[in-house]
Symmetry: C2
Subunit: 151 residues, 2 copies
DNA sequence: GCAGTTGTTTTGAATGATTCAAAACAACCA
DNA sequence: TGGTTGTTTTGAATCATTCAAAACAACTGC
C-alpha cells in the first residue's frame, strides 16, 4: 500500500516541540501519530491507527481521527484525499508538492512541483477566480507495478 | 451551488445517439441525467436526482447513481471528486481540463489547461512513475464570493 | 510538587455518500 | 412481437468519518 521510507525517525523531544509550538497540548496519542506518519507517510487513518496501537494499545480510532484533525488544523500534517480513496496524511507540509497515485497498488508518492516554484500553477483564464492553492494529482503506475505488469 | 450555464440544451436525438454510440441502452433515466448535466454541469448525484425527478418522477436515487456510474464508465460523463465534497459530474469529457472550486459557495468552474496542451503537466522527477493522467484542482474564491467578501 | 482549568481521549452512537442484491421491468434484436 | 439481456426499483448494507457526553490528562500558577 504505502512505501516504507528510510528517513530518520524524529526524536521524542523534536515531536514534542513541534506539537507544543503549534499551540497544542503534548499527548501520547499525538506523539504516536506524528511518529507513525514520519515512519509511513501517506497513511490513512486506519493505518495510522494500526501503527499507533502497536506502541500505545488502548488508543481509539476516534482519537486518531481527532488527532489527525487537530494536527491538520494546526498545520503539522497535510491531508490529501485522492478521488475514490479514504484520506491520507503526511508530515511534509509547507512546500507545495504534489502526489502520484498508483492505480495498481494504490501507493502514493511525492512529486515535486511540476513547473518552477510554488505556486507552480496558474490557470490560463481564471474568469476572476482568486486562486489560493493548486492541488495536482498524477494517476498512473508506479515502477513496481509496471514491472509486475510486464511479467 | 452550481452555476446555471446558458449553453444550448441538447436535442433528444443527440442524447439518444450519444448513449447508443457508447454501447448502452437508451432509457429515460439516462437521457434525463444527460440532460440534467447539460443544464447544470458539476452537479452532484443529489442535484442530478432532483433535476431528473422534475421531469421523470418515480426515478430512484439509486438509479441516478447507477446511471452516473454507467455513463462515467462509458466515457460519456466525467466524475470529479473535490476533497471533502461528494462527487460531481460533467459532460465535458475528452479534453484534459481542470477545475476551480470556490471555498465560499462550493461552486465549480472549468479551467483550461494551465500550461499548453494536454497533458499539460509532467512531474519534474517521476522516479519511474508512468503518468496516465494529471488532475488539477484550484482552490480559492470565485468572483461573486470575492465581491461579497469585500462588502 | 500539587490542584484547578482547559483541552483531549474514550466510549458509544449517528451521519452521509455510496454500493450491493434480488426481483420487477423495459430496450433492443431477430 | 416475443426473448434475451441489461436496467431500474426497492430495500438494506457498507464504509469513512463525525458527533456528544463523560472520564481523563496536560499545563498553569501556586
Amino acid at each position: 500500500m504505502t512505501g516504507h521510507t528510510l528517513a530518520r525517525l524524529p526524536e521524542q523531544a523534536e515531536l514534542d516541540g513541534a506539537i507544543r509550538a503549534a499551540g497544542l497540548k503534548v499527548t501520547s496519542p499525538r506523539v504516536a501519530v506524528m511518529r507513525a506518519l514520519a515512519d509511513l507517510p501517506h497513511s490513512g487513518a486506519e493505518s495510522v491507527f494500526a501503527a499507533v496501537r502497536h506502541d500505545l494499545p488502548g488508543t481509539s480510532l476516534q482519537a486518531v481521527y481527532g488527532v489527525l484533525a487537530a494536527l491538520t488544523e494546526a498545520g503539522l500534517v497535510r491531508r490529501i484525499e485522492p478521488a475514490g480513496f479514504p484520506a491520507r496524511f503526511e508530515r511534509r507540509v509547507g512546500d507545495n508538492h504534489h502526489h502520484a497515485v498508483c492505480s495498481g497498488c494504490h501507493s502514493v508518492q511525492d512529486i515535486d512541483c511540476a513547473i518552477g516554484e510554488a505556486p507552480c500553477l496558474l490557470p490560463s483564464d481564471d474568469s476572476g477566480f482568486a486562486v489560493h492553492s493548486a492541488e495536482v494529482t498524477f494517476w498512473g503506475l508506479c515502477a513496481a507495478c509496471q514491472a509486475e505488469a510486464a511479467a
